[in-house]
Symmetry: C2
Subunit: 366 residues, 2 copies
């Protein structure tokens, strides 16, 4: 069966060379006589995998030794728990920018562990644009939490204003997608199933200053400090998931962040360009400066178009463009492993669909 | 490179047919046109994987619909956290049987969330035998926690006495290794990297009565009740890890639990038999009724034998027999994927090693 052009939001499509390498390592890892799935988490082969992962994160994010790179189990939601557990002490408040569903849930999770405050929100307008950056933060704010890209609604922070408090960013859906000044963050993190591989792994990069703070006593499994001290092996690490992350990091380095950014920009220009001139498709985010390069969300001017368009895409080998259950419509996720050619194929189908659809005047005349 | 005979304690060796199926699915899953790593966690293909996993756990453990099968991220240690979070309310005490390092750590983790009590322990004697089963439990005990098999020390509970409180068992290293009455447990759980596949996944089987209790408000990610209600997809599930568990469950069913138990018994008899008649190797656990069929731990009567024996094993393609860093010596883990022939190969090397070693009398004469 021919490989699909896959625009799913996550678990996302992976580069074919990564899948091939992984299939090979599943049968045998190097000359170990064992599968990569059987590598010992405290053994030298996996130690080298971890070290290379850590070095590549430092290099690709342009950060220095003042940051600890930690590989954790679970996805973004376990981080939603661990962030307030670790960094929200009694007497302080956690500030959240409410720019989408995940940003909102991150705040809801934190509320189990202490005081929270939404300092900016676009919830009332259905997250169709980014909220205004907060003019000031509570004096007692322990940190400000930001979701850099909002997958469900297709918005993304391109310019991030200054912040007077430790800034913690969920980059699950746009990490390594662009040149970015990561040194501005006290912590950034990402679930792996978009630009970093497969679900079951999360990357957390934490400034060492943050690790000196301890909001409450925590078992080592849930403590960033303990996880950093144990070099991500407090317990049996997700060996195959972290190896997949290594393959993704190598693939990312081979292409280079600047080249990836360039292609991501070209992909976004092509698709938004088509949406902006379409007489059928309607982009969700009208404010161009707020548009995500990772997830492009749109609807049609007539619900009756939806199923025929999905069907036409399927006939052209294209999957994964249904919008999130919260929004309906369409969402095209264009993470790093989606090529410009993939997006061009979709745009061709959109054009064909428009050409075949009767013009609004003709339809009105029926 | 020839596949090694691998006695590692976990991540453990996996059956070759499982690895082959997984490698194939890494390139393409069925006729989906995508890799299994790219399946959507809320899509129908993964839904079928989860349902089959759940049905197989019910069938292989012989439990009814009164149990919820939940697939979680992380390993045993995240369960060490979640068990007291969910089941240890204020005013109650969590009772722990301290039969080894993991049993002890489970208790230490629980102490972050409430009162704990060790009701039986063999720590003082280096966990070389099982502790006496507690004659009674505290009236305020919310549950009794038991580790059914102690990997580091090579002890295993074969007969589990009656228990007046909800019994929660960590079966990480012996699940599905024997016929066993699982209906005695309020909950049992296992990290997957031994008899269930790869690290990064944990199986928790919880009696529905337990889910009606809620020790404290918890974010859905850390709540068994929410995880059960959301059918293990509160967040993006570990799709490849759970698919690997399905392959292991199918392989287990194909062999049958009774046949697996029979082979595990034969493996243990062969290896302990050799140890009991050896003049060089010394089994750690002298009490035969306490011996583990999963992890056989032993030392030598002279430390000088250790490296030469390891080297001889390596020459015979055998790996993974070094003891845990806490105990030293040797540990041979014989999970379900280790065959009787694998153990026979090791026993042959042990015999050869003994034959080549000078007898104690001769050595004394040097």
């Amino acid at each position: 069966m021919k490989r699909k052009i896959n625009f799913n939001a996550g678990p996302a499509t992976l580069p074919e060379p990564v899948l091939q390498e992984l299939a090979k390592a599943t049968l045998q890892y190097g000359k170990t006589g064992t599968s990569v799935l059987e590598l010992q988490h405290r053994g030298s082969a996996f130690g080298e995998i971890l070290e290379e992962c850590n070095a590549l994160v430092h290099e690709l994010c342009g950060i220095g030794p003042e940051y600890e790179v930690i590989w954790l189990h679970g996805g973004g939601r376990l981080q939603f728990c661990m962030i307030p557990m670790n960094f929200l002490p009694e007497g302080k408040v956690a500030a959240y920018i409410d720019s989408g569903q995940w940003a909102h849930e991150a705040m809801q999770y934190a509320a189990y562990y202490g005081d929270t405050k939404i300092v900016a929100s676009s919830r009332e307008s259905g997250y169709a644009h980014l909220p205004q950056w907060p003019a000031r933060l509570p004096a007692k704010a322990a940190y400000l939490h930001l979701t850099t890209n909002n997958t469900i609604y297709g918005t993304q922070w391109h310019d991030i204003p200054a912040c007077s408090k430790p800034l913690i960013a969920d980059m699950s859906s746009d990490i390594l997608s662009r040149r970015h000044d990561h040194s501005r963050y006290a912590m950034f993190y990402a679930a792996a199933q978009k630009n970093l591989g497969v679900p079951g792994v999360a990357l957390a990069v934490v400034h060492k200053d943050m690790l000196r703070k301890a909001a409450r006593p925590l078992p080592p499994m849930l403590s960033y400090k303990a996880q950093a001290a144990e070099r991500s092996v407090v317990n049996t690490a997700n060996v195959p998931g972290i190896y997949t992350a290594l393959l993704m990091l190598r693939w990312t380095k081979q292409r280079g962040i600047a080249a990836i950014e360039k292609e991501n920009t070209a992909k976004a220009e092509l698709l938004y360009g088509q949406l902006d001139k379409s007489r059928i498709f309607v982009p969700r985010v009208s404010e161009k400066a707020h548009r995500s390069q990772m997830n492009v969300c749109f609807t049609t001017n007539d619900m009756a178009h939806e199923q025929p368009f999905l069907d036409m895409c399927a006939r052209h080998n294209i999957i994964g463009i249904k919008g999130h259950r919260y929004t309906g419509g369409f969402r095209v996720s264009m993470y790093n492993a989606v090529s410009l050619a993939d997006v061009a194929a979709l745009v061709d189908v959109m054009r064909e669909f428009e050409d075949l659809s009767p013009s609004p005047l003709l339809r009105r005349g029926r």
